[in-house]
Point group: C2
Chain length 208, copies 2
DNA sequence: GACCCTCTTGATCGGTCGCTCAACACAGGG
DNA sequence: CCCTGTGTTGAGCGACCGATCAAGAGGGTC
């Protein structure tokens, strides 16, 4: 019994979203033409506009897919490999470092790119971008909660999770501007230093 | 004696750069058409292409102007108002917060926007973006140097200045994605907390 | 006045943009 | 066999893209 078609009737829609996702990531939204997406997906314009009334709807589908891929592709693999909550946070960050290295700092966070490019002009996309950030921060927040007593009670976990995202996105931006992963890595190191200073480890450190 | 022309012979070039600067900031580089720039600058296409062989050359001129405007517009006003090196750093950051508030979080850091949009596809622009970041970080680094003894000797000032930029850019990105300045403000607050923990103030704090 | 140089004008180029639509393929159900 | 519903095809739309260029305006100099 051969594996035949999936649940859906056609995979054209999926191919279009996949192609658009890759091209938006590499080139940005405005710089990517419909024709290029069609070529990459091996589809014809009529098919695209059958599934997506406008180019923006395709963008929304891409952002929806990012939401769906966040846990299975970004979070879960790290959580499976690492159990310590603190190391899970830095494991996720290390995943982005590896992407930077693999692409020679050409590609960064797809959500971050789109956040700055389309947030203002495409309100619906902006909402989905915010939801992507929310999902990411919730994963970090869960790690912070799992730290239990190690994190002082007066620390605002949501705010700290937001800070982790801030450092990641800012670090990636610099890495891309300099084509060098060092600014990202330094930022992560400073973030770890900050965590070390916050954490109640039951230990007093004396430096030097 | 009326004030007549400036040193240069014409201001058309300056008007074009100014118009392009504003539009690239609001809409991004790819999303801004030449025709729109011409309309905004009240110029004709021949004039533009007399000064700038291509659209990318206009982008480079915009980035050069940002380099020139950094100190007089962003750094110096804060340094004139504030003398304490630490407060100078957070004074600069507060300038960006005010921009976010004024624009309802629609506009962020012009360099950051372009960094993510054109860094990969326009190498010459990427270099100028990096130079803009360098200039910004040098201002912060100067503040760190001016802290003298308050900063432990083993702290890497370049790395810390880079971290300030990272937090700023990451914070602005989230502010724009959420159309809310809170993530930026929280990030800056965490950064201040980090500084407080790093600084040798000659004081021991016991919390609570 | 003749000449040059800087800068401006605006029609126009070929190409690409996002998008439309009538026609058609094809499987499932009656 | 026909009908319907779900996709697919590809020619082609008007608009706009970035860019070109011959012509000329206007000031400075001799």
């Amino acid at each position: 019994m051969a594996v035949e078609a999936q649940a859906g009737k056609t995979d054209t829609r999926a191919r279009l979203v996949e192609a658009a996702r890759g091209l938006f990531l590499k080139q940005g939204y405005a710089a990517t033409g419909i024709a290029q997406i069609l070529k990459e997906a091996d589809a014809r314009s009529g098919s695209l506009y059958y599934f997506f009334p406008t180019k923006e709807d395709l963008l929304l589908a891409v952002l929806e897919q990012y939401k769906e891929l966040l846990w299975p592709l970004v979070i879960q693999p790290v959580f499976d490999r690492v159990s310590d909550p603190m190391e899970r946070i830095f494991g996720v960050l290390d995943g982005y470092r590896r992407m930077l290295l693999m692409t020679e700092c050409a590609q960064g966070c797809p959500i971050g790119n789109l956040a700055l490019e389309v947030a203002e002009s495409h309100p619906a996309a902006r909402t989905l971008i915010a939801e992507n950030f929310d999902g990411w921060k919730q994963a970090i927040e869960q790690c912070l909660d799992d730290l239990d007593g190690r994190l002082p009670a007066d620390v605002d976990r949501k705010s700290l999770a937001s800070f982790v995202l801030t450092v990641m996105e800012g670090g990636i931006m610099q890495a891309r501007a300099y084509r060098d992963s060092a600014p990202f890595e330094q930022g992560v190191a400073q973030l770890r230093d900050y965590f070390d200073r916050i954490l109640d480890d039951g230990s007093n450190w004396s430096k030097g």
